[in-house]
């Protein structure tokens, strides 16, 4: 019951903030994305308490959340800096909120939560004990001043979002957190269906319904997705948040609704609080975002501001507790990741008008840069490049984990130019997937050079839903176009 109330409170809280922040998203979408928004703000509240060294309690979290809400409310009222947020839009009467969409979304969420709380299933590994452990430490009144063992590892590897959720779950009176993971995975599956359905609303029912059913079946049964459903870890949530942020770019292109970009930046910021390596993914996101809205400097600035406000304070804080040499993430690596994001933000915000269109193809430049870097490394560290290549190819992409997906990604990429002739916006998805794979290869290479362990094989899970979404979009694009031509 306590866990049920906790997961339900994520929805309610998210609803309060999404009404405030994303008024121009369709109401059903706004209601639907509430849990993703809620988990973000709850984590930010816990994060603030950790930073100021105050024990985490529900009362304090509640006060901070009210403070966040009021702060956003008043800054929106008195500022026009965020173009898609119009003041007064969220000042609706209660009757306007209680509509069929809201009731439908709320009941669906309610039922999913209750089912997974009652099922009581969970899949745990060694890492799960640390997520549970840091949550309990915080819930028992622990602070940074108590200097728990492996502090730097806990800050960078087990906090913020997942550890914060375990902490709040304990504070709600529940014993250990398990139902949040399957709830969010199934909810995310619903988000994919909702997005696909709205993007392909003009498809005939004869095509659309079988495709939706096939999408659900393939996504749910896919081993990378299915493995994460009950898994107590950060990879599942990282996969969800990374996928939603990239999907938001595509949804913006199709709807021209700027709220999708604001939402995408917010979700991306939260994804970096789930796993630090998502600070690499953020560069991929913004390189694609710049390509599609290079002409709207104000919007780019807004997106960066939202992302950096969410992400930067936490990582600057953890930096102060991270040694220069460490077996987990070290201070140099955090500095490089932060610097890369800040430099890219400055470049994309202040790039002269004359160059903006010429340099707008950041994804392409990014890929060229990666290949050039690997060539330079091949000259400097040939053995490491060979090891990274062999490991990445034979133990990941061509292993039983990935071989089917690798083969189809290759084929989809070969045929991409033909599909892009019908729908050019679809390149957003393959760009993000190919760039992510190349950056994961770089992680393996770096780890090999500095002799540090890496989790490349687990990180590759993050893009599987995006890939499946791409294949379905591509297929429906082709059959729809074929039909029109026939």
């Amino acid at each position: 019951m306590n866990q049920f109330l906790f997961i339900l409170s994520i929805f309610v809280l998210g609803l309060c903030f999404s009404e405030l922040l994303f008024p121009e998203l369709k109401s059903i979408i706004r209601y639907y994305v509430s849990p993703f928004v809620g988990i973000g703000f709850m984590s930010l509240a816990v994060g603030l308490l950790i930073v100021i060294g105050s024990p985490v309690t529900l009362q304090k979290v509640g006060i901070i959340l009210i403070g966040y809400w009021l702060m956003i409310y008043f800054s929106l009222r008195h500022s026009q800096c965020i173009p898609t947020m119009r003041r007064g839009l969220f000042m609706k009467s209660l009757n306007q909120y209680i509509n069929i969409n809201f009731i439908g979304v709320f009941i669906s969420y309610f039922l999913i939560v209750i089912i997974f709380v009652l099922i009581g299933k969970s899949s745990t590994v060694s890492d799960s004990t640390q997520f549970e452990g840091i949550g309990r430490f915080l819930a028992n009144g622990g602070t940074i001043d108590d200097q728990p063992p492996l502090l730097s590892f806990l800050l960078n590897g087990r906090l913020l979002v997942v550890g914060a959720m375990h902490c709040l779950n304990r504070l709600f009176g529940s014993y250990s957190l398990y139902a949040l993971y399957p709830t969010f995975h199934i909810w995310f599956l619903g988000f994919i269906i909702l997005s696909y359905s709205s993007l392909r609303r003009h498809l005939s029912s004869n095509n659309k319904i079988p495709l939706l059913l096939l999408l659900v079946f393939i996504m749910f049964s896919n081993k990378s997705f299915n493995y994460q459903i009950y898994h107590v870890h950060s990879n599942g949530l990282a996969m969800i948040f990374c996928s939603i942020s990239i999907m938001s770019l595509y949804l913006f292109k199709k709807s021209k609704n700027k709220s999708w970009l604001i939402f995408g930046s917010f979700i991306l910021g939260i994804s970096t609080l789930i796993r630090i390596d998502n600070l690499i993914f953020s560069i991929i996101f913004f390189s694609i975002a710049f390509k599609i809205i290079y002409y709207d400097r104000r919007l780019i600035t807004t997106m960066w501001v939202i992302f950096l406000i969410i992400s930067l304070p936490w990582w600057l804080f953890t930096l102060s507790y991270t040694p220069l040499k460490y077996w987990h993430v070290n201070a140099y690596q955090i500095i490089i990741l932060i610097a890369a994001n800040v430099v890219f933000a400055i470049v994309s915000v202040f790039i002269p008008k004359y160059y903006e269109k010429k340099l707008s193809n950041f994804p392409f430049l990014f890929m060229i840069g990666t290949i050039s870097f690997v060539v330079v490394m091949l000259y400097q560290y040939p053995q490491n490049v060979e090891y990274a290549f062999r490991y990445f190819l034979f133990q990941n992409l061509l292993s039983q984990n990935w071989i089917f997906l690798t083969f189809t990604i290759l084929l989809m990429t070969i045929f991409l130019p033909y599909v892009a002739q019908i729908d050019n916006d679809i390149v957003i998805l393959p760009y993000s997937i190919l760039l992510y794979i190349s950056q994961t290869f770089l992680i393996v290479l770096f780890s090999s050079i500095i002799g540090q362990p890496h989790v490349a094989s687990r990180n590759l899970y993050h893009i599987v839903p995006l890939y499946i979404f791409w294949v379905f979009l591509s297929f429906s694009t082709v059959i729809d176009h074929s039909k029109n031509n026939i």
Binding site: S123, S126, G141, G142, S176, Y178, S399, T408, S482
Partner: protein, 217 residues
């Protein structure tokens, strides 16, 4: 071209469908058999050595665990609802094959049943080793214990935790609560009586039984 694209997508779908968890688990469970069969084909031998890898990190051959039971004493201390939640927690962590399970199960029950009784929990380890074996028990990443028992202080101290048969019988008679952990390890909590103030507690081991008691043996 459009028709080619349609067929090609159908081909892609059929490959992606194969990437499902049922087929994957079958491959994983039979990877050695498949390797053996296919490696009889000469050109495939080298390739299969790298493609089909066994990445399963769990301990092989899961044993059937002894039942954990919620007895009257546990229910009396933490209540029926909490006892059932605790049982679920053990269900999740006891049989996952993780080498960390016993460390956190011990920490969990110490926090749950003895938070008000312990000042410092002494553990017979050193902090520079990842795993320790004491008799038939294994203790890994002991740093996690600190997180679970906070605000109880955890102190690492060199002492002999192995007890003799007579001490075992004495402690067993004084045991208040027994709970089965991972790998059939039995945790016994011995509460001190008479004094209200918090005491120091020690971890002792006899074969596969662990005692947390205020007596330094």
């Amino acid at each position: 071209m459009k028709r080619v694209l349609v067929y090609f997508h159908i081909f892609a779908f059929s490959l992606i469908v194969l990437d499902n968890f049922i087929f994957f688990n079958y491959l994983k469970d039979h990877s050695d058999y498949i390797k053996d069969k296919l490696s009889t084909i000469e050109p495939l031998r080298t390739l299969l050595g790298t493609i089909i890898i066994d990445f399963d990190y769990r301990k092989p051959g899961k044993k059937k665990l002894k039942d954990y039971y919620v007895d009257d004493k546990i229910v009396e201390i933490i209540g029926k609802k909490r006892a059932s939640q605790q049982k679920l927690f053990f269900d999740h962590y006891r049989d996952n094959g993780s080498i960390l399970s016993n460390s956190i199960i011990m920490a969990d029950i110490v926090h749950e049943f003895m938070e008000g009784k312990i000042d410092t929990l002494f553990l017979p380890f050193t902090d520079d080793v990842y795993c320790f074996d004491i008799e038939e028990t294994e203790w890994c990443q002991i740093q996690s214990i600190d997180l679970f028992v906070h605000p109880i202080i955890v102190s690492i101290m060199r002492y002999n935790p192995i007890i003799r048969l007579k001490q075992y019988i004495d402690l067993k008679n004084e045991t208040n609560i027994s709970i089965t952990g991972s790998d059939d390890v039995l945790f016994n909590l011995v509460f001190h009586t008479g004094e209200e103030k918090k005491l120091n507690y020690y971890l002792n081991v006899y074969k596969n039984e662990v005692f947390v008691s205020s007596n330094e043996q």
